[in-house]
Symmetry: C2
Subunit: 164 residues, 2 copies
DNA sequence: CGAGTGTTGTTCAGATTCGAACGACCACTC
DNA sequence: GAGTGGTCGTTCGAATCTGAACAACACTCG
């Protein structure tokens, strides 16, 4: 709760507003991330009937050793609540793209496993998705911008990780 | 529909995968934007009972001439569907932070107007919100990174705007 | 003018999300 | 080896979001 106290005192004594540059950066980030999210969602829905979270689950699983991962870890990687992941894995299970397996080392644990069908689905869908990411973000950026953005995002990610 | 045709041909003939740098940039962007979104949502809910979209509506209205704006334009600026905006404006109206007014120039139109109470609510909440944006994003970035990010986001925004 | 076309905002049904509460299990201590 | 605090995944209720359908109005062009 430290951060809230700090915010409070700051807000009372000295609200450090964003200057023009900072505001522009924040607004651009916010606006673009939401807009891009919508576009991605739209494209995935159109070509595969998948939501973006569902697609991300498939991607993360496909990169995991054995194409499987514990629910909690998966939820962290996809940035979704535990209950949200349960819901989506249920969906994906019904679609036959993912299966559940009991975790050998932990009786409480559940492993989400990418099925063969899931792997093929991902293979089919990924190129089109990547193309969208390219068309609107990656291909528009210089190498310097790419590095700067990565560095910036990493720093933020670090702060958000450590404080949660 | 040009873009889908293009994606299709590309996906069949030559899926241009992301290299390590590009993938890192995209992953970092995706992960961080979702994580930051969650943090912001959490903070706004805690101190004001507002969702992030609701807060954004107040901000955009407060910056508009006469603290009022047409529904469609507002929906574009906040990046939310028309029906989503209707829902949120209803909520904000119940809370007394926003009012609806008939549009003088267009009988179909509806103006969302920030109330005095809405203005005070925003004044009260904004510093804490800005502090979160600072703490996790703005203050962690160098001036160069800030500019690079803004430039990158603007380019993407431009593409997304023009194609919709 | 008047038909045709497009826009505006709302309603509706359905899907998705979250947090809180829960039962089950793990790890550690005495 | 029972107790205790913590973790795991699910369930549940409530809130939110979207796209499609709709009615009302605006605009264009013959």
């Amino acid at each position: 709760m430290f951060k809230f106290e700090r915010q409070y005192t700051v807000s009372v004594t000295d609200p450090r507003w964003l200057d023009t540059t900072e505001m522009a950066a924040w607004r651009a980030f916010l606006f673009t991330s939401h807009l891009l999210e919508r576009r991605i969602e739209e494209q995935l829905k159109a070509v595969a009937g998948l939501t973006h979270p569902q697609y991300e689950i498939l991607v993360v699983l496909s990169e995991a050793p054995g194409q499987q991962m514990r629910m909690t870890e998966l939820a962290r990687d996809v940035v979704v609540s535990k209950s949200g992941l349960t819901y989506q894995v249920n969906r994906l299970e019904k679609a036959g793209l993912v299966e559940r397996a009991t975790c050998p080392s932990d009786e409480r644990g559940v492993l989400a496993v990418l099925t063969e069908r899931g792997r093929r689905c991902l293979e089919r869908v990924a190129p089109g998705h990547v193309e969208v990411v390219r068309a609107y973000l990656i291909d528009r950026l210089s190498r310097d911008e790419l590095h700067a953005m990565t560095s910036a995002m990493r720093k933020t990610e670090e702060g958000l990780r450590s404080s949660v």
